[in-house]
């Protein structure tokens, strides 16, 4: 092993300690802060990714009401589409070029927030290595993300924004690295927090996300508190975590357990110090996760955090079958969960400092397989927050005609906006400087605009 690698590893290990260990704040420092119950910092900012696993059928989330786009939509998707009369009509600042658009009827809250200028829509986003046209697609001259239309590969591409190569880090992880390298933040708790287990999106060179369950932080049982037996167990338990195992797999197991224990007490203490949220959340998985995110944001002041990225997941979007019943239910749950989350952010008075956005494996085919849709490529996405220039669409609405200029075939649409552009706009708002952008999004310069303009400065 080379010296610089050794140094890097040593550095990483120190960072891992810092990221979640006691770090700069001793126990007394935490207690002082709890007593103050500090609100989130005035310059606090957070991104919340809601990943729609399975590939959301975005062409039913946002669909044309009239004009040429509606005519194309009706031809491409003769049934299973949303009828023009059902759609909740939008009046964006910039009128779409080929007819009016509306949101799915199960999205009344998001429709209202769009009208209030809190929600922006970004059409036809997907992973790209470089801009692709139907001509370069058909001529096979375009450089394409490998394994197009595969769930885990396109999810990987979305989350890494590096479809051109197998990447071990994701854009949120690299954004966190950049914020630390730039000196924007000097946090001693992981900037990335996942409510949905491990994910590459939040993995950076400096480490991966801190994982929290929807019900909160899990503390170790049976080894703390009074009692000599507990003390003895804790001593032995700690000793076995501290010893250097011969197997690197066992060392990894020890590291995770150590991180978990060190972080749990601090985060749980901060959570316990918060007053309960008045906002009620629906009893769905995604809503419970967002509720915990709201509580963690509430505790960010006590934990001394100025930047955070949260990852929330919602499954079930792979609607190959029974789409007519399943997809509206999913959208209804999403609408209710995002609505409750918005209300909680308003209650905490952080709604201008938190931006929520969607990601998904891919959009789906415009065409139908009988009772569902199959894997596509580009899809529409939502950005919600007080820092969002809402009430408008950013990017290019695709032509919905089969064999049209945006179609590869069967209504698998070529993205007109790269994930890199969508994500870079969010990362810049979070505080990644233009100088750091190439480190976070190495392919960004291949696309026309680095910032789609949907975030206020």
């Amino acid at each position: 092993m080379r010296d610089d690698e050794l140094n890097r590893r040593g550095f990483l290990e120190r960072c891992a300690c810092l990221a979640l260990g006691g770090g700069a704040l001793g126990l007394s420092g935490i207690l002082d802060r709890v007593a103050l119950a500090a609100p989130p910092a005035a310059d606090y900012r957070a991104l919340v990714c809601v990943f729609l696993f399975g590939g959301n059928d975005a062409f039913n989330l946002l669909a044309p009401i009239d004009g040429q786009d509606r005519a194309d939509y009706d031809l491409s998707r003769p049934f299973l589409g949303v009828t023009a009369g059902e759609l909740l009509p939008l009046t964006p600042t910039t009128a779409p070029p080929r007819g009016r658009y509306g949101l799915h009827p199960q999205l009344p809250t998001l429709h209202r927030l769009f009208g209030e200028g809190r929600l922006a829509l970004v059409p036809n986003v997907g992973p790209l290595v470089e801009p692709v046209t139907r001509a370069t697609w058909q001529a096979r001259t375009a450089q394409l993300p490998p394994q197009l239309f595969s769930h885990n590969d396109q999810t990987q591409h979305w989350q890494t924004s590096r479809p051109d190569r197998p990447a071990a880090t994701g854009w949120c992880g690299r954004a966190a690295d950049a914020l630390i390298d730039q000196g924007t933040v000097a946090q001693d708790i992981a900037l990335n927090v996942s409510l949905q287990g491990t994910n590459v999106q939040q993995t950076g060179v400096r480490g991966q996300a801190y994982s929290v369950g929807a019900t909160g932080v899990v503390r170790l049982r049976g080894v703390d508190g009074g009692g000599a037996a507990n003390q003895r167990r804790r001593t032995a338990f700690d000793a076995l975590l501290a010893r250097r195992a011969e197997s690197p797999l066992a060392r990894e197991a020890a590291r995770i357990q150590r991180r978990a224990i060190d972080a749990a007490d601090r985060v749980a203490t901060a959570l316990d110090a918060q007053t309960a949220l008045q906002t009620t959340f629906p009893e769905t998985g995604v809503a419970r996760q967002l509720q915990m995110v709201a509580r963690l944001i509430g505790a960010s002041g006590d934990l001394g955090l100025r930047r955070q990225v949260f990852f929330v997941g919602m499954g079930g979007y792979d609607t190959h079958g029974e789409q007519a019943t399943r997809h509206p239910q999913l959208l209804g749950q999403l609408d209710a969960a995002l609505g409750a989350f918005w209300n909680a952010l308003v209650e905490l008075n952080v709604h201008d400092r938190v931006t929520t956005f969607t990601g998904s494996d891919f959009g789906r085919t415009l065409t139908i397989n009988g009772d569902g849709t199959d894997h596509g490529w580009g899809g529409h996405h939502l950005v919600l927050g007080g820092g969002v220039r809402g009430g408008d669409l950013y990017g290019t609405l695709p032509v919905l005609a089969l064999n049209g200029p945006d179609d590869t075939r069967s209504g698998r649409l070529i993205p007109t906006t790269a994930v890199d552009q969508y994500a870079a706009t969010l990362a810049r708002w979070l505080g990644v400087t233009d100088a750091s952008l190439p480190q976070v999004f190495p392919n960004l310069s291949r696309f026309q605009r680095a910032d789609l303009g949907f975030m206020r400065p």
Binding site: R9, L12, A16, F53, G54, L75, P78, Q147, F149, H151, N152, A168, T169, G197, T198, V205, G207, Y210, S211, V212, G213, V218, R219, R221, G222, R232, R233, A236, F237, A239, L240, R243, A245, S247, P248, L249, A250, E252, A253, A254, I256, Q257, R259, A260, I261, G315, G316, D318, H320, G321, T367, I368, N369, G370, G372, D374, H375, L402, R409, R412
Partner: protein
């Protein structure tokens, strides 16, 4: 004692003769007196006709790879038979049925889904066909279906039956199992090829691509071309080579049309049947020409059965399928990072089972377990050898090691995913609980080591799992001073209590039963001994036994099998 195939084979023959006249229970009954040596003993060959042919730790090593965990009884059986004879004995055992056991709970037509998980625990704990059940569990993570998206009428019985399909086919030809899986109505619902219709240009409808894509990506050939050693092949530019493209997916999607539930009177009158294989309706099958892999074209105008048979042949014969499936099974049973030599030897067994048959899963399993690399003693393995234990298998290993018994016959642990992030047939998606090439950032990525199971290991699940072990050990043992709930599983400490006055013997016994044949590292052993000795011996030995078990099952060493 090192594994010596020739020696072992000779001993096995002698043993088989010796054991031939003994009923299994009698053979096991004889054993304790002969095998009291435990860890490190045995194998001397100076005993009588029925003497151990391998050490207890070698037996524990095999049982950790091939079962849901060593039990004292099974350890003795392996010691008596030797590894190869034990594996062969297991290969010959018929499948124990999950569905029959589930139905025996007597919960009527639609048993609660938790009883299926309860049944799974029962099989992990008690089924005699341990190897078959363990391989079925591995196959359930290859041919993934998930209760997460299969609910409603018959779902629980259908899923139990699906598991039986995997168990029955676990040692048979891959090609047959692939067909059974393809025509399983549970898979038909999960990947939506039940009632999949031929293309209808007038309505702009094309066949559902779900099963077509995943059967290639996840159940047979994978995304990129592989060498015999399972390593992706590369073209002149150093790029991996895709095995198929979207057009191939569309070709296979045409194949999987025209199938619906058994008992259907017509295409539109097909009530749900999640138990019997799907049947075809030719008029809904796409009869146009189909372009499959490697230039293979199925001509137009054939039946659903003909197209299916040929398409599955194409997948089963593909050069990728051997390395792809073999690597999956090796990763689930033995090690996360099989070297090229080990892979090649196992793939050789896939290519030809010795009788000219290809894809014989029993021969593959035998090759995986009896390979010299797999049988090399854990303490002699390279540091990176082995795997993180799957969370469910940690719990089963604890229970089996200490003769755990349910209070009234049910195991009660029906939603283990809440702590362990894993439960049988409840993966979050067809991509299973974890990906075969997952690498956590940090040391393992730097070393280039795959560690699939670590994808489940977050701060939350790790501590929740540790806490669950606190409950399963410290709060569930024979004689615990409180009234027991009906669904609790109780550890039997009886064999350990007499050892409490001899901490070294106690710790070594616990280590033998839990550490998969590894010698407990000296510094760890010292820590465990210190804890045991510091625990006052003021009771019948219970407390010391509990402390020893708890500290080992929560240790990083137990989290890994070597």
């Amino acid at each position: 004692m090192r594994f010596d195939p020739d020696f072992s084979r000779a001993r096995r023959r002698a043993l088989s003769r010796a054991l031939a006249g003994l009923a299994p229970s009698l053979a096991v009954g004889l054993a304790p007196g002969l095998l009291a040596a435990g860890c490190g003993g045995g194998g001397g060959g100076s005993g009588g006709a029925v003497a151990p042919v391998i050490t207890a730790s070698a037996a524990a090593h095999l049982l950790t790879q091939a079962t849901f965990g060593p039990t004292p009884e099974e350890l003795e059986r392996v010691q008596l038979l030797g590894e190869a004879a034990w594996v062969d004995e297991q290969l010959a055992l018929p499948a124990t049925s999950h569905l029959e056991h589930l139905d025996a709970y007597g919960q009527g037509q639609d048993p609660a889904s938790g009883l299926r998980v309860d049944t799974w625990w029962h099989m992990a704990m008690r089924a005699p066909d341990q190897l078959r059940q363990r391989v079925a569990f591995a196959l359930s993570q290859l041919f993934v279906v998930s209760e997460v998206e299969i609910t409603g009428a018959q779902a629980t019985r259908g899923l139990a039956n699906y598991y039986d399909v995997l168990a029955r086919g676990a040692f048979g030809p891959y090609r047959r199992l692939l067909e059974d899986v393809t025509l399983s109505p549970v898979m038909g619902v999960y990947l939506s090829h039940v009632k999949n219709e031929r293309a209808d240009a007038a309505r702009n409808v094309r066949p559902d691509e779900n099963y077509a894509r995943e059967v290639m990506q996840l159940f047979s050939i994978g995304l990129v071309e592989l060498g015999f050693d399972g390593v992706p092949r590369r073209d002149g530019a150093g790029q991996t080579i895709p095995t198929y493209d979207q057009a191939t997916v569309e070709g296979f999607a045409q194949v999987f049309t025209g199938w619906t539930y058994a008992g259907a009177r017509s295409w539109s009158n097909a009530p749900r049947n999640l138990l019997e294989p799907m049947i075809s309706f030719q008029q809904w099958h796409d009869t146009s020409e189909k372009r499959l892999l490697g230039g293979r074209v199925l001509p137009a105008g054939r039946t659903a059965e003909q197209d299916l048979a040929d398409a599955l042949d194409v997948l089963a014969q593909h050069p990728n399928t051997g390395p792809f499936v073999c690597r999956h099974l090796i990763q689930r049973l033995v090690t996360s990072n099989p070297g090229p030599d080990y892979m090649r030897r196992v793939v050789q067994a896939w290519e030809d089972d010795g009788r000219g048959q290809r894809g014989n899963l029993g021969a593959v399993v035998r090759a995986i377990l009896l390979d010299p690399e797999a049988r090399r003693a854990p303490d002699l393995q390279p540091a990176e050898w082995g795997k993180v234990r799957e969370p469910l298998l940690r719990v089963s290993a604890l229970w089996r090691a200490f003769g755990a018994q349910p209070v009234v016959g049910r195991y009660g642990y029906q939603n283990p995913e809440r702590e362990l992030a894993q439960a049988p047939l409840r993966a979050p998606s067809v991509f299973n609980f974890f990906r075969p090439n997952h690498r956590p950032p940090g040391e393992l990525s730097d070393l280039g080591l795959d560690a699939p199971e670590t994808q489940l290991a977050t701060e939350t699940t790790t501590t929740a799992t540790t806490n669950r072990f606190y409950t399963l050990v410290h709060e569930r043992w024979d004689g615990v001073p409180r009234s027991l709930g009906p669904d609790e599983v109780i550890l039997s400490l009886a064999p350990l209590r007499p050892l409490a006055g001899d901490p070294e013997a106690l710790v070594d016994r616990v280590g033998l039963l839990l550490l998969g044949g590894r010698r407990m590292p000296p510094d760890m052993r010292q820590t465990v001994l210190d804890l045991v000795r510091a625990t006052p011996l003021t009771d019948d030995g219970t407390q010391r036994a509990l402390e020893a078990i708890w500290i080992v099952v929560t240790s990083p060493e137990f989290a890994v099998q070597r």
